[in-house]
Every structure is written in structure tokens, then in C-alpha cells.
């Protein structure tokens, strides 16, 4: 198996201000490895959006980053309500976020589309009532 650095984070579902801690740590790590600035930025935005999604929709979860020399694989796992219609959820502007969330400037329906835009590969595995795992791959 190819050698990788595996980093694991708990994403706290009750704390908006801590969302972004995992992406911040990954960002720091990538910079230490000398990953180019454009790739770092893509990872940061995609992962941050994923963390926010877990906080807004799923009461938190786990973020796992596997860093390889030429890429990063990110797994965002939650035990939230699941996504009923993935194609619809992927549409820019579609959101199920509440008014409360929107008033904070989130829930514009750009989370998943942005994650797709900034990653090289994205897979969503979701079961209603069980939870969702989003896989993101970003190549440097």
C-alpha cells in the first residue's frame, strides 16, 4: 500500500465557530509539505464547505484526510439524516437549510457544488436515516 499521512478530526456539530478547524489543520500540514498554493486553496475551500455541511445538516461527524505525495483523499462521515435526492442536492442554489442558518450567511445551496468544483473527484454515499459519506480527491 502506498504510504500516506492520515489525519482524523471530530467535527463538533454544536459549534459553528469550530467548523473549519479540520481544514485549517490540513491546510497547515499541506503547506509544511510544500504543496503549491493553488492546491492548498482548493483543499481548504472544499474541506471547509464539507465541514460546514456536517454542522448544518448532520450534527457533526468525522473528517479524515489521507495525504499522499501527489494528492489528498478526504472522507467526511456523518450519521445525519442522509440526502434523499443527491442530484437535486448537487444543483447550485438548492438548499434545505433553515432560515436561522441562512441568516448566518450559510445555506446558499453552494456547498456541494463548490466541493465538486474545487475537487478532482467527488463521491457521495448516502442513506436516508443512516448518514452520509462524502469522498473528495484533490490532486496537487
Amino acid at each position: 500500500m502506498e504510504e500516506c499521512i492520515r489525519l482524523e478530526y471530530d467535527v463538533d456539530g454544536n459549534n459553528f465557530s469550530s467548523a473549519g478547524n479540520a481544514s485549517e489543520s490540513v491546510k497547515r500540514t499541506l503547506k509544511q509539505l510544500g504543496v503549491d498554493a493553488a492546491s492548498v486553496r482548493r483543499v481548504a475551500i472544499a474541506m471547509y464547505e464539507g465541514e460546514i455541511n456536517m454542522v448544518i445538516h448532520a450534527h457533526g461527524g468525522k473528517a479524515i484526510a489521507e495525504i499522499y505525495p501527489e494528492r489528498i483523499d478526504i472522507y467526511l462521515k456523518d450519521s445525519g439524516p442522509g440526502i434523499a435526492d443527491i442530484d437535486l442536492a448537487m444543483k447550485a442554489g438548492y438548499s434545505t437549510a433553515t432560515e436561522n442558518i441562512r441568516s448566518l450567511g450559510f445555506g446558499a445551496g453552494m456547498g456541494l457544488p463548490n466541493m465538486k468544483k474545487y475537487s478532482d473527484d467527488m463521491q457521495i454515499d448516502s442513506t436516508v436515516g443512516v448518514g452520509t459519506t462524502v469522498f473528495l480527491r484533490i490532486c496537487f
Partner: protein, 411 residues
């Protein structure tokens, strides 16, 4: 980053090895070794936070001596906007200008005036395509260094325009040469509120030419200047800087002058770090301009000032009300954007990279993570590093073994 100049030095006998400066340093560039603070200059951005926080006065700023001024035949002083906030009951900026002339300068070129020209240039650039938004102001050299050191992903947002002090030096030199003064006779001296500007003006990171002959400290010239100012009655109307230029001395002055609706300004090391992090996450999309100052309150908060930042801000606001001169434009001085644009794009620093080789860097990082699992994670600072992570990285990078009081306790 090749460091050839230090703007902060340690007066070793005054340092008691407390960890205050190490904790406050925004780039984790201080360690305590053998009971004394040590600056890692390749990670230092010259912000002056360690000077500000040292209770014993062991951190000393470095700047040029006033005696250097006398070695030039034609001496030009460049006072920063913040200098005008340092005097009680000052109701006319011309007292300061006359005071500088009385100190022996042949000419005074206000940096506030150059700031107005930078505003005009920035406005023009913001109207054109080509700048990556949000545009980040590069007027605060410590912020610019911070981005190059730790926020590479935001480097293409930096406004590629010289800071006002540089423009003041460049324009003052141009005008003096045009008047036939020999180049070797011209001495140009910026009077600085902070060590970061001392550093940036002596380096040629973004320009091919230096323009500046020396950088003096506001606090160093303060008393001799006040002495001269006290003797002045009815100063001449020499100053050309208006309310807009002097506003640059306080946080928000630069962004206010641009007439934009969607902008953010913030100041203070922690706030700047937080905002840069948010920007890196893409949270500032839609914002046009971001002005950040490392010093609390803006340049008035620099460690080479004499007066409290907020008292100085209040004075400058009142003074600005009396300075009814409209902002200068590039056209007034026959200039275009090319006069303001950087000659070259600065290189991001690799000081935080564990190794140039990605594979070796990964090996080192795995070692760091392994050490981190052993360390208590309380960031107590007793080992002489600001965090457990820093200590783990130091050991991996420099060799040695983990040196942790908590680990010792467990044995």
C-alpha cells in the same frame, strides 16, 4: 527568505526568559534557549509584537541613527501620518513640518500626500480587470510578509503597489533630481512608526531601487522635534497632505479613501491572523478590498510611536477635520500607474516547509505526528517552544530528544 537585516535584537542581560514574547509572536518565531529569548529570523515578520509585550524592555527595535542625516547635503524628511498624532493640542500640521525643517532637513515630503496618490492609483486599478478579489492591501509590510510566510494561497490577492513611504521616497527623489540636485547629495529619511517599515524600506524585495537613505524612529526623534516645534510661531502653509492622507495613519483610513462599499478593515495580530484564515477558506468572496494592519488601531499603534494609539487616533481625527485640502491625484504630479506598480513579484517564503523533497517532508511530518502523540498537548511553553507541535517540529528539524516537564513527571 534571505535575511540580511534585523529590526529586533535582544538585550540579553535584560531578558529573564519568561515566555511572554514567545506566546504573543504571531508566527511562532521565538524560542527560549538557555533562559533567553531567541528570534528565528527566517520566520520573523518584524511586526514588533515582542517589543510591545516584553515587560523588561529586553527587545530593542533597530533603526538608523539621526546622525546619519548630517552626512547628506540635501536632506529630505518623510513624516508618516501617525507622527502628527503624537503631539498634544496640535491644531496645524505645519508645526511638525516647520519643526522638521528646524531640525536640519531641507525639505519635508509628507507620506500622507503619497498615500493620497496611492489611493488614486488603487482606485484606477480596482476599476480595471486583472486584480484578484478580494484585493489585500500591502501598505502594512508586516501583513505582506505574513502572507508570503504563512498564507501563500492568498499571495495573488496582494495589491502589487508600493506602500506610501516608498512612493514618497521615489517621488521626492524624482523631484529633487529634476531640480538639478546631484543624486549623491540627496538623503531621504523616513520617520517610521514601526520596525516593519524600517525593514521593508531597506530591502529590495519588490523594487529594483531603494530610494531611501535611512529610516528613523518616531520615538527617537520625538524630543528633539518637540523642542524645535515649541519655538515656532505662525508656521508657513507648507503641508500639502489633506484629510484623506492623514487618515491612513489609522486602521480603516486606506479603505475609506477608496470609496468602495464592500470592504473590510481590521487590525491587531490575532484579528489579522483570523481574517486571513477566513479568506483562505473562501469566506470573503464578494468582498472587494481588505485592509489589515498588524498593529492595534493601525500605524498609530506601531511600537515606535510615543503616544497611546487611541489617543493619537482621536487627535488625528480632529486634525484631519482642519485639513480641508482635497486628495492629490496622479494627474497633479504627472504620474500614471506604472510609477506605483511593483517592479517584481515577491517570492513566498519556504521557512515553514519541512523539506524541499515532498517524500522527505512526509517522513518528517509522520515523525512530528508520532512525537505529538507522546506530548501532553497543553502548550505550557516550559520546553522553550510556544506549542507542543512546535517542539515536536523543532526536534524533528534540528535533532535532539523531546524535552518535556510533563513527560518527566510521568517517568
Amino acid at each position: 527568505m534571505a535575511v540580511t537585516l534585523k529590526t529586533v535584537v535582544l538585550e540579553s542581560e535584560k531578558c529573564i526568559g519568561c515566555i511572554t514574547c514567545m506566546r504573543r509572536c504571531p508566527t511562532e518565531a521565538i524560542r527560549i534557549e538557555n533562559g533567553k529569548a531567541k528570534i528565528l529570523y527566517d520566520k520573523c515578520i518584524n511586526c514588533g509584537e515582542c517589543i510591545r509585550s516584553c515587560k523588561g524592555g529586553a527587545k530593542r527595535p533597530v533603526y538608523d541613527s539621526f546622525d546619519l542625516v548630517a552626512s547628506y547635503k540635501y536632506k529630505i524628511a518623510l513624516p508618516s501620518p501617525s507622527l502628527f498624532g503624537q503631539f498634544n493640542n496640535l491644531d496645524d500640521p505645519n508645526y511638525v513640518i516647520e519643526g522638521l525643517l528646524a531640525l536640519g532637513f531641507d525639505e519635508v515630503f509628507e507620506v500622507g500626500l503619497a498615500a493620497e496618490l496611492v489611493t488614486d492609483c488603487t482606485k484606477k486599478l480596482m476599476q480595471e480587470e486583472g486584480l484578484t478579489r478580494p484585493v489585500i492591501s500591502t501598505a502594512c509590510p508586516a501583513v505582506a510578509e505574513l502572507i508570503l510566510l504563512k498564507f501563500h494561497e492568498l499571495a495573488d490577492h496582494m495589491l502589487p503597489v508600493y506602500a506610501p513611504a516608498k512612493i514618497a521616497a521615489k517621488l521626492a527623489k524624482k523631484q529633487a533630481l529634476e531640480r538639478g540636485i546631484p543624486a549623491d547629495d540627496i538623503g531621504i529619511f523616513f520617520i517610521s512608526p514601526c520596525p516593519a517599515k524600517v525593514y521593508s524600506l531597506h530591502r529590495e524585495e519588490v523594487s529594483n531601487e531603494k530610494y531611501i537613505s535611512g529610516v528613523l524612529s518616531q520615538s527617537d526623534i520625538y524630543f528633539r522635534l518637540v523642542e524645535k516645534m515649541n519655538k515656532i510661531k505662525n508656521p508657513r502653509k507648507i503641508g500639502k497632505c489633506g484629510y484623506s492622507g492623514i487618515g491612513w495613519g489609522s486602521s480603516g483610513g486606506e479603505s475609506n479613501s477608496l470609496g468602495l462599499g464592500n470592504y473590510i478593515h481590521c487590525s491587531g495580530t490575532r484579528n489579522v491572523l483570523e481574517l486571513l484564515k477566513e479568506m483562505g477558506d473562501g469566506k470573503l468572496d464578494g468582498v472587494d478590498f481588505v485592509e489589515m494592519n498588524m498593529c492595534p488601531g493601525g500605524c498609530v499603534g506601531g511600537v515606535l510611536n510615543v503616544e497611546n494609539a487611541f489617543i493619537a487616533r482621536n487627535r488625528m481625527r480632529q486634525l484631519a477635520d482642519k485639513m480641508r485640502i482635497p486628495p492629490a491625484t496622479m494627474a497633479d504630479y504627472g504620474l500614471d500607474e506604472n510609477f506605483f506598480l511593483w517592479d517584481k513579484i515577491p517570492e513566498p517564503s519556504t521557512s515553514f516547509q519541512l523539506d524541499k523533497n515532498r517524500f522527505v517532508a512526509m517522513q518528517k511530518l509522520m515523525k512530528v505526528e508520532e512525537y505529538l502523540k507522546k506530548l501532553p498537548g497543553i502548550d505550557c511553553g516550559a520546553c522553550g517552544a510556544p506549542t507542543c507541535r512546535c517542539h515536536a517540529e523543532d526536534v524533528v528539524m534540528n535533532g535532539g530528544t523531546l524535552d518535556c516537564v510533563k513527560l518527566e513527571e510521568r517517568k
